[in-house]
Symmetry: C2
Amino acid sequence: MAPPVEGQARPIRLADIAKAAGVSHGTASNVFSRPEIVRAEVRERVKAVAEAMGYAGPDPKGRLLRAGKVNAIGVGTTEPLSYFFEDPFARVMMAGISEACDATGAGIALVSAANQEKLAWNIQSALVDGFILFCIEGGSRLVDLTRERRLPFVALELGFHDETISAIGVDNVAGGRLAARHLAELGHRRFAVLSLTLGEDRTGFVTPEMVRSAVYTGTRDRLAGYFEELSRFGVDTAKVPIFETENEQKSTRAGLEAIFSGGERPTAILAMSDRMAMIAIEWLTARGLKVPKDVSIVGFDGVPDGALCDPPLTTIAQPITEIGRRAARMILDFDGAVRRETMGVELVVRASSGPAPKG
Amino acid sequence: MAPPVEGQARPIRLADIAKAAGVSHGTASNVFSRPEIVRAEVRERVKAVAEAMGYAGPDPKGRLLRAGKVNAIGVGTTEPLSYFFEDPFARVMMAGISEACDATGAGIALVSAANQEKLAWNIQSALVDGFILFCIEGGSRLVDLTRERRLPFVALELGFHDETISAIGVDNVAGGRLAARHLAELGHRRFAVLSLTLGEDRTGFVTPEMVRSAVYTGTRDRLAGYFEELSRFGVDTAKVPIFETENEQKSTRAGLEAIFSGGERPTAILAMSDRMAMIAIEWLTARGLKVPKDVSIVGFDGVPDGALCDPPLTTIAQPITEIGRRAARMILDFDGAVRRETMGVELVVRASSGPAPKG
DNA sequence: GCGAAAATTTGAATCGATCCAAGAAAAATG
DNA sequence: CATTTTTCTTGGATCGATTCAAATTTTCGC
């Protein structure tokens, strides 16, 4: 009779403990999950056996299947994972999500992937009770993929036409207005807009028809807000250049290049993100243009970095942390309903905006 | 005969699909996980049925139990979850971890908890293949808890006497020396040390005996490095005040208060973290002391913020991102061995250190 | 010391998939 | 057309726990 193979050390299961301690599975299970209903003597015996055999405790993989709930929420994006730790907007949002998760003891699983195929797989196999989606560029694909899991999920940003999915975002029209009014009241009349993308995969100047057929309604609404207010001040919005760019340095700079190589230079820039606004400040400063003496800039988002840059950024602040908290709670307390929440925004005046230059 | 209860909508299982499509559950499973071995006609039929019934695809909970591997690594800390998104050191580390995870398509699960009890539960039930531990204060408890899971894990920082656990950290003695030599060469002879804690739950001035019996060897080694080098320059290290504090504002300020209320004020401060160093700069500046004209400061860590503060911080830079990458790879390519890696550090001279004031 | 009530323990059923040896069907060969 | 080969399909075993109704043991009151 061959001795049992040593080396391969199958991890010890609860059943092994039960057998060794001479009790049923049920009792062994109770020793760990509801120790108070097991007689003290038996409990100690089983624990001793477990200890002696080097049992690691009930494997969550097994428990999970039975219990159904993972107690973790997934946060998804199409950006690389490091986005969560590097992007200022994402970080503030994550802090809000963290807060809600900490309060209930839930975990956070970060889901992302380099390519589309892996993204699909990672979303399909994420062990979570629901998702919060950072819908940046390529967001609709992310939503489609997530929808297939048939788990609760919330999109951050209302920038989708689809009213059947839960989302939390801000009042983009109001935000656009606040920014435009602020600059107009400072006397500015020549504007340019650094816009986020209106649809997938395009950058460059934007025509009014393109605005009307925009896929991302968030972008469209901010534009609408800008223009509504500018019109009220008598600005001919048809002449305001709108440059659509990705939210990063290279294409934003290209946009600035394009805007400032035109004939009539703007005295005020409406930027749809703080990131863009800060890139603009840097670009202008490097070209000898003073902010806000020559050009005023108003951003959008209200990330903490905006207060630290030079000059500090005037911006439309979103309640980012609160959005994160609410998104997390939506998943944690999911009740089957589709919810769409619109949060207010606030104009934060700092030093990147000032009176329009004379003449 | 009562109709089946509608409302409660038990989610559809693979077995339901199999039955509805008239195939075995084995075949149904193959349709999703290895479609190429199923006859095209059958495959399409099953897929159609799945679609029609609103099947969400194979539930990862079920798959997991069979497969064994989660394909995610857990990152644990005793700090609240928001620590990962707010602390500069943690963020750079996480970026490194993210990079390694992105490369293999693994996910990241953040594990933390407000209180000890929940922490234990969260570690016990985290669905991960291994852990990376941020061992800040209270780290040994975290390690003990994690060890019980009997999964691979790595401690970030070698600050433990226990050689049986895998860890990655830096050469603290060398780092201490570099910092001390830099200041000594600038002519400084009156020093003070802002130290991280030597053991759990204590702050205040430290005696040489306490150093010898330090629990956290990382702290001890940095001190050793400082003193070795200072001795070489003829400084009487017995007279150098060492104030042990938490890595946060309140207790660090208390330390500064204590140090600067003493008789002979130091002209140079050796801080064991950039955080402390930056708090010190702020504190000194607020008191009208110029950095580095009156007091020079050298930090430790090399976080990006250090380059941005005013004046930019001279520091001992750790290869934080690389440590993160390696830690993640250790878990991802776990082979059962205990590994302890020591990384080099580098002196980064910026503007917070300068020649000792005359007299 | 007896029966009822309370406290424990048992063991089969279940959670939702994947795997694999064996059987069945289809295709290839002579 | 019979036989061999190849390709699919089947259904039981398994992953590691929890749950719950029923059986058993203890405890309690009198």
